[in-house]
Symmetry: C2
Amino acid sequence: MEIAQSLQQVKSSYIREILAAACDKNVISLAGGLPDESTFPIELMKPMLNSLATMPEVFQYGSTAGYQPLLDHLRSVYELKDSHQIMITTGSQQGLDLIARAYINPGESVVMEAPSYLGAMQVFGLVQANLLTVSQTEFGPNLAELEQCFAQHKPKMFYAVPDFHNPTGVCWTLETRQKVAELCLQYQVTFIEDAPYRELRFEGEALPMVSTFCPDQSIVLRSFSKIASPGLRIGVVTGKQSLIEPLIKIKQGADLHSSVPMQALLLGLLQHDGFEAHIDSIRSLYKNRYETLYRELKCQLPSHCRIQSVDGGMFIWVTLPECDTFELAKQLLANGVAVVPSPVFYPEQDQSTAALRLNFTNANPEELTEAVKRLAQGLTAFI
Amino acid sequence: MEIAQSLQQVKSSYIREILAAACDKNVISLAGGLPDESTFPIELMKPMLNSLATMPEVFQYGSTAGYQPLLDHLRSVYELKDSHQIMITTGSQQGLDLIARAYINPGESVVMEAPSYLGAMQVFGLVQANLLTVSQTEFGPNLAELEQCFAQHKPKMFYAVPDFHNPTGVCWTLETRQKVAELCLQYQVTFIEDAPYRELRFEGEALPMVSTFCPDQSIVLRSFSKIASPGLRIGVVTGKQSLIEPLIKIKQGADLHSSVPMQALLLGLLQHDGFEAHIDSIRSLYKNRYETLYRELKCQLPSHCRIQSVDGGMFIWVTLPECDTFELAKQLLANGVAVVPSPVFYPEQDQSTAALRLNFTNANPEELTEAVKRLAQGLTAFI
């Protein structure tokens, strides 16, 4: 049976392949985007894990928008306006997929930064969106390019990860946030704010979300995969009621609703007295790992590699002299370290500049140090 | 922001509305398709619920196809061929959605029986399929119509629920199963076998699945919502590897993977010594309820109503003299009983014959008896 045209355009995921190779015990992987298993707050989840057996209602069909006690809790935490709605999704990835399906007709334009999150390119690719990109600076998207793009193409939405961007780790400045919101309002472009790494700030002060400046023209995606557990597959989408209703309609066909025991478990965790301290402990663990990786890279990499510092998130982006980064990644893998080459983060791979994404959350300082040694060896031999 | 064209065609779900109304405490609902909460095997799940806290790996990201120990278990239970693949989905509803997205281009033809499962009409509607229907007899689909439809329209797939069909409860005969498989092979139509009610047989012997007769040209959807718990949102899709691979590719964008703790929990349940006895107890509970509802309907309904007996499943289909069944359902609701009128189960509502779907799994015998009393009163006044 021939597959649908929309799927024929989806490239097979290079990351999946490299992640498979990275399972080799002799390889240190900086390729994935996994939180450290040891950080999962299982102790804090235990009380609710035990309570589930006394809650038959969570084993029944639930409502599509989500488990009401969790919705109520999050509505209050996020201080949502009455006119705004909240929906639980099967991971924030599902939220993104629902947004693409609900709003994008084939050929309609969606703007992203380049490089950008692979999972977003996938879902917008599946609905055959016309993917437009603007380049990214250390302050966020290039604003002149963005305005020109909005004016010229009248895109439907602008998708971005303003806090500790995947893959570059860039965190937009306050001025950029305000200006982007202004442009979205001016050109009637809906802003899709994907915030999975927002809580992983280990340096400096949190900045307001971009959607704060254009609340009625934004959809916000939040994740619990980095601060609680990705295995649960629970994310949240919020926005003006009229923007969220169509997503609920599609979710009904997509999976009826997300797992109710997992929603109850997450609520128990979020309400646990120890949850704030748990997030603090993740932050300091990752800060320590980041500092190790950054220091070792600065020491050991050739001087023409540019290493971008970050204030949070999970990744460091290393810019290289022009070279075939796929071939480089392959040789590095043979040398015992897995990394992700930059082209996979670009809708048009040939527009990418040479760089590598390095993850620092899923290897310990000793492994990170050894990984950089292998990386430096491989790079020096290659470039 | 304007919604996508594909979503503009999706009608708002009448069932959602009637289910909302049916929450009124004075209403006895035969409208839903819910298993009885008291049947959920929570006792049998307790050992694994307790073990989850010692399994940090299930809280990490998992693989898109599913949790390997569960995949291994199901592969063995289903006696899958080596050339066949298995994938866990977020409820079998997701399996259906992935099939539609992976294979159907706008305007391509999908065949279903009429009446048919609403959730299937929704997902095929979302991909803008051309929905063709064949009528249903007490033996299954009308085979002459089916062959003519295959020959004339060269559809890509035939979607059906051969065991205790929703909404009619019809169970296809062995001859029909063989003949449908033959036709699918002859006309190269992929058979989508949806089997959520298969284990709920309380009378007679199980018949081979249709896919047994055309294994390489079928995709099978199985559910644990009726025999375990719908809240978990775990379903399974199986079929020839080349048929399942595209579904995995889409699932990666749709939600990455289904909840891993829920997959582990389900595995623990399926491997529990008490699980077979648990299914037996559901069967006898539902048999008892079915017999009550059937007997009361036979006694109390006007003689020109046709009540179809069933050997399992969750529903009885009552055919009525031609009338406005929406208006009837509304008046019955006012009289304290919720039912679903037949037109909602037809892609073209005006092609429906007057009937009502009555659920017998989620009300006890006293409620069922009282519900039929109200139904008979309302009907007599209406027709």
